[in-house]
């Protein structure tokens, strides 16, 4: 019972709020007036009852009890009201009960897009769709997808004897002319600046269906590269073409790929 007596008052009472200046366009034009007068510059603490005065041209934002209050000459002087900040156990319990009852489902259903995409390292690499392996059906062109600011300087293939011709595409991608590369297993080195990423590539002839009919595929393959620890992995993706209509990410990637055709 002693515990209840000790706990109950603070189950319902939060602490008194103070304000903090979290943005100020020009501290010379804003002042905090209370027991003393001081500039309303970033990180200044404002006690309840103190006033914030803003001269023409000035603007400050006060974080107060969870709200951001903008003070400009239009609403200056602004007096900080007395309010509580923080939560209470009773309030938290109510929130929990409401969440259990489903009253806050609307909040949870806020639209939120999550990209199933990974960041690569430094300048090379990027988006990937998993799970795929490094078997790619031969295409006339292969698209390297990479950071927008990066520039692929060369693509070298071990045992092939010449660099593959490159055509700069739109920002974030490079088109590799693959027509000269016959089917086979290769180690491909994608180089940008001083860095080269080795990627093993099983470059396969087009698959034949049962009746001997060669499947008609667009002459395009996409390669995305990511770093995995100290190694580099290829994550991509001839299958991307066939699933572009069915997944959001594939669709988004092709939005970038289409202009290069």
């Amino acid at each position: 019972m002693l515990a209840v007596v000790m706990v109950l008052p603070s189950l319902v009472a939060a602490g008194q709020a103070v304000g903090v200046i979290v943005a100020a366009n020009n501290p010379d034009l804003a002042t905090i007036a209370g027991d003393d007068e001081r500039p309303a510059s970033l990180f200044a603490v404002i006690q309840p009852g103190e006033r914030v005065l803003v001269a023409p041209g000035g603007k400050v934002t006060i974080r107060y009890a969870g709200e951001d209050v903008e003070v400009s000459p239009a609403n200056s002087p602004y007096r900080l009201p007395v309010e509580a900040s923080g939560d209470t156990v009773a309030g938290n319990m109510l929130d929990w009960a409401l969440s259990v009852l489903g009253a806050t489902d609307a909040e949870r259903e806020e639209p939120l897009t999550v990209a199933m995409a990974s960041r690569g390292f430094q300048s090379l690499s990027l988006y990937y769709v998993s799970p795929f392996d490094n078997r790619l059906q031969r295409r006339d062109q292969m698209i390297l997808i990479h950071e927008r600011g990066a520039k692929v300087d060369s693509v070298r293939v071990d045992g092939f004897g010449q660099d593959l011709p490159l055509t700069p595409g739109q920002a974030g991608m490079t088109v590799v002319d693959m027509r000269a590369l016959p089917a086979g297993n290769y180690l491909v080195h994608v180089c940008a600046g001083q860095r080269c990423l080795p990627v093993s590539l099983n470059w396969m002839d087009p698959l034949q269906k049962k009746g001997g009919e060669v499947s008609v595929l667009p002459e395009l393959a996409a390669l995305a590269l990511i770093r995995d620890g100290d190694g580099l992995e290829l994550e991509g993706v001839q299958q991307l073409w066939s699933i572009r209509a069915s997944t959001e990410l594939a669709s988004a990637l092709f939005t970038r790929l289409i202009p290069v055709e």
Partner: protein, 458 residues
């Protein structure tokens, strides 16, 4: 088995059966409830690592964490925490850079250093980058008398692949390694957490082991280093390694505790419960963060500022919130990949760090009370609940016992929890409630079968 074995068992059975038959029929469920409840208490005590006990413990602690978060019952930080956040607005304004630009981090640090915070934590992975010259330039000037007022902590991550003959990954190299090693005000710490199987971060790792040249290297976690720098510590982490530690061939095992200058003891080993994070700082509380006493006034426990507003500021307040505070520079925009699930909701990694520091500062590690006390409290609760089921209908008894638990036991638990003590009362009580309801239902079912619906209704 000897001949006397079966006969002794039989004698015991007859003795118990004799006593049982002497017991009035209405008190028999009471005794069964008592035995069931206490058996569960003992079983939980003997099997603290079983998945069922851990799941139950997680649920209970998640609920309590959610109740106390952002209230006076949550751990209270020693000083305010300020977060300079590369939020979505900042990220967009900077042109959505692939990596957080080092020159901008450097400018933020340079601005903050003038206000003399106690610690600045830079929550970006600075390994494997070649663009750190602006940062190195600022940091190389951060030494001497005034610099000692602010300690800078940088995050050290680990490689994904294990070196040969090692169970521990290596720490990743950084262009700042030499600079940090040569400056007493610069430190590396590990921001590494291991999520539970459901993806929720509930526990911290206080010390991370890595392998460098076949040698075990220990790195304190961010929260441990933060309190060690604030309070001082009695011994090195290496001094607490278990004597049978096998270099890189095993995860580091510790024996004993470190003692901070404030007298607080931190157990590096101990059961998982002790490494539970009590989240005091939820993401985006509607009514702001709870106030803490700081230099004679109440200031918010956490204040989050957009990095773009900090960079745009011409001047910081002297003697304001920042002086002596802990500052975390981190990112919360979606592309950062640094958003994590916690018992109190999704939050950026920098807020997980703020919570970990606050928890380690403001709370002794979560402890279980002595077993005798658990036994006593649970015995009282089980007695009470069992008695209610004897004198009331199952529906009324469930209602009343739940109300009593809510009114008496929950506040008691909150009070204990605010002192870092976790009393797991829910499972035995729930078992007793369920057993009673089930027993009554079974009894009613047999009655219906014996007499039929009409017979029961007569």
């Amino acid at each position: 088995m000897t001949k006397s074995g079966p006969s002794a068992v039989a004698a015991l059975y007859h003795w118990v059966h004799g006593k049982w038959t002497l017991l009035p029929a209405r008190w028999r469920p009471f005794v069964v409830n008592l035995l069931v409840g206490m058996a569960i208490v003992v079983w939980i005590h003997l099997n603290p690592d079983s998945s069922m006990v851990k799941r139950q413990q997680d649920r209970g602690l998640d609920w309590l964490s959610r109740m106390v978060t952002n209230t006076p019952y949550a751990p209270q930080p020693d000083q305010p925490v300020v977060m300079v956040d590369v939020d979505s607005a900042t990220y967009a304004q900077w042109g959505e850079p692939w990596l957080t630009p080092a020159d901008r981090i450097a400018r933020i640090i340079a601005l903050l250093l003038d206000a003399e915070p106690a610690q600045i934590l830079v929550d970006f992975d600075l390994s494997r980058r070649t663009d750190l010259a602006p940062l190195a330039d600022i940091l190389s000037r951060h030494q001497g008398g005034k610099a000692a007022k602010t300690q800078l902590i940088f995050m050290k991550t680990q490689a994904s692949l294990l070196p040969a003959n090692s169970r521990l990954p290596a720490f990743r190299d950084s262009a700042l390694d030499e600079l940090v090693a040569s400056n007493d005000n610069l430190h590396w710490a590990a921001p590494l957490y291991r999520p539970d199987p459901d993806g929720v971060i509930r526990h911290w790792q206080l010390v991370i082991g890595g392998c460098e040249n076949d040698r075990l290297v220990l790195l304190p976690s961010v929260q441990l280093l933060s309190v060690m720098l604030s309070d001082g510590v009695d011994k090195s982490l290496e001094a607490l390694l278990a004597p049978d530690q096998q270099g890189c061939l095993a995860m580091p095992h510790f024996s004993g505790r470190i003692v901070l200058g404030s007298g607080k003891q931190i157990d590096l080993a101990g059961e998982q419960l002790q490494h539970r994070i009590v989240f005091a700082l939820p993401p985006n509380p509607e009514s702001g963060y709870f106030p803490v006493d700081w230099q004679g006034r109440a200031v918010p426990a956490l204040t989050i500022l957009s990095a773009r507003d900090v960079l745009a500021a011409k001047r910081f307040s002297t003697g304001g919130l920042l002086t002596g505070a802990i500052v975390i520079i981190g990112a919360s925009h979606r592309d950062s990949g640094d958003i994590h699930l916690t018992p109190v909701g999704q939050m950026p990694g920098s807020l997980v760090l703020a919570n970990s520091i606050t928890a380690l500062q403001g709370l002794d590690q979560v402890q279980r009370p002595p077993f005798v006390l658990i036994l006593l409290v649970d015995l009282l609760l089980i007695l009470g609940v069992s008695w209610l089921f004897v004198v009331m209908s199952p529906f009324a008894a469930t209602l009343v016992s739940s109300a009593v638990i809510a009114l008496l036991v929950v506040p008691f638990s909150l009070l204990a929890f605010s002192q870092g003590v976790w009393l797991d009362f829910a499972l035995p009580i729930l078992a007793v409630q369920m057993r009673s309801v089930f027993a009554k239902a079974t009894f009613s079912y047999h009655k219906v079968r014996r007499k039929g619906i009409k017979g029961v209704l007569k």
